[in-house]
Symmetry: C2
Amino acid sequence: MNLEHLRVDIGRLMDRIDDLAELGAIGGNGVCRLALTPEDKAGRDRVLDWMRALGLSIRIDGMGNVVGVRPGRTPGPPVMTGSHIDTVRTGGRYDGNLGVLAGLEVIQVLDEAGIETEHPLAVAFFTNEEGARFAPDMMGSLVFVGGMDLDVAHEVVGIDGRRVGECLTEIGYLGEAACGQYPVRCFVELHVEQGPVLEAESITIGAVERVQGISWSEYTIRGFSNHAGTTPMRLRKDAGYAAAAVACEVRRLAARMGGDQVGTVGALNLKPNLVNVVPNEAVLTVDFRNTDEALLRAAEAQLSAFLDTLSAQEGVEISSRRLARFEPVPFHETVIAGVERTARDLGYSVRRMPSGAGHDAQMLARICPAGMIFVPSAGGISHNVKEYTSPDDIEAGANVLLHMLTELAEA
Amino acid sequence: MNLEHLRVDIGRLMDRIDDLAELGAIGGNGVCRLALTPEDKAGRDRVLDWMRALGLSIRIDGMGNVVGVRPGRTPGPPVMTGSHIDTVRTGGRYDGNLGVLAGLEVIQVLDEAGIETEHPLAVAFFTNEEGARFAPDMMGSLVFVGGMDLDVAHEVVGIDGRRVGECLTEIGYLGEAACGQYPVRCFVELHVEQGPVLEAESITIGAVERVQGISWSEYTIRGFSNHAGTTPMRLRKDAGYAAAAVACEVRRLAARMGGDQVGTVGALNLKPNLVNVVPNEAVLTVDFRNTDEALLRAAEAQLSAFLDTLSAQEGVEISSRRLARFEPVPFHETVIAGVERTARDLGYSVRRMPSGAGHDAQMLARICPAGMIFVPSAGGISHNVKEYTSPDDIEAGANVLLHMLTELAEA
């Protein structure tokens, strides 16, 4: 059978994207579907309905990861695609969702064309990729590949004091399938770039070579509360000032290191958080990323040295907790080259590039050849309600995914 | 009648302090009695019970300020003492409360000694002195002296979104007496120092000469939310970083100006406040104080110039809102000298000093001769559950108050 002219139905795919975006919709076309919330449950239920309508056999594991499988001519590990459907608190409708729904579109195109593949095909969505409610991010796919014990994951406490395990039970997604044992033939994930590179260079497809390493830490700074009017500056142990000094140092550090190094203080909370009281406690997060593990370690070491000095100077105690730590992950050359070739065959411009964000594919890379397809993000904007990728670019990405999966399932 | 040997009953005064501290008690001997909360209502009810038991005639105005009056031989404006009973969120049991309860103790001593004074005596407590829930601080006494319209005060929205007026109604303290018209003969407030000076110099009584000027501003910084991994540092509009830069500048500015200048960023809130999202909004407060109005203005101007530069460099919008602004207030020489002389007559060590904190007495200074008596704060600690003043020092301060009020009410 000649598969060259197979194409996705972009109208149908966009309808599903818009449909899913209504669950947890927030102003400005955004989505708030934090992991394991009622909104997440609603989104999961919707995707499961679609999976069932496509006749996929559903597997839900103890982490709430969902895999829908389309049988091949011969049994065995499936060629898998997928991503996640959880979002950050003020997120867009493409991040994660696109990869899952494009997977369903691929299945439907093959079904309608009456095409059976040699190996099974699977579409998955993984729990809590964002890490916006529970740390670390990519938790579901990490547990899926056996990189974190299920019991440990279940005990993780979220920003609202709730535990992963109880929330899974509450929304009815504590499945019975085992974690860490599911064999996968290979994994390809379609995702929006979430950065400005493809758009700036007018390129449609990114063949992702590797993912930046990620270092997330939470620092708790303990000083001493006192009256803001009567306490001389020299006698203060101001946890709020110390936290601000850390945030300024993170910025200076990234500027000093240059290259791929980024650093962000995204969360910061003071106690008692009152205008006229010197704060006695500050809790803040630091997010460092670099494509080079040695440089990422250097950033961590430099911040650590700064904290020691700051602690002594201000008379505050600083304790740290690692929220997440992933080394940079290289993808499989076969998949990278396959994305490049497929894009060119379909007439799309393509370039190799790193990923600035973490993705489920980097976890799957631990157990099988894995790779990613990027499509442009308007203005490089993501984790924001203004996140946008044009239907033309989505169509291109989904077509590359369609041909990659079909080819890999025949190989 | 010879009044020389009159003394307060320190046991009775300490009992009242401990009793009041049970209402809104928090761990570590602290108190959380934010203005116009159910805890504040409970505290008010208790003090009113005591006032009624002492036979005082009660006056509650539209701001919830309470004045209890003991008649003199001749009618006319009373010699007044008092303070406040609201606290910060993690406050102590002496700040404000001492001044009110020592006032009641003075009344009881005079009653038991059968002493009538020429002029009436009054004990007052003023609403929302702390400003920890509603800005500005000293709101009740400001409205009491006619410095702020009652209607404006009623519309002030607190940190929890509630309005002053509705909260006054809710706790049953929206009184009928008019604001801004009550004549006062003179005002003396006993208060803990809330700073380290008296303790460091082993002096028992502070004769307060003036109060620092206070400048409170709230800044809202608007940047742009984006993915913390994929957004190059140079393309960020990071409201969180900008807020941290302001907090660091406030510290540098106070160090640069030296002298009495203090500066504090006590409250800081980020949105969306997530580890992996560049914050798009930060709201922070700046508290500047100085005993010299020209220097206080210089601090404000320097910060304003810094904000202009920061806004341009980071590409963020910064808007400001004044929460409170009070010029330094000198107290009346007659009262200052009276505190000094009375303390010496009673055998207590005394020094003149400024107040680093704002107090109700500075508002009363707008309508009558006013002054303050300070007693030592252990470790200079206040606005903290560890706030402590020894019973001996409290007794000394209350005795100075007793003799000051008696003398002024006879003069």
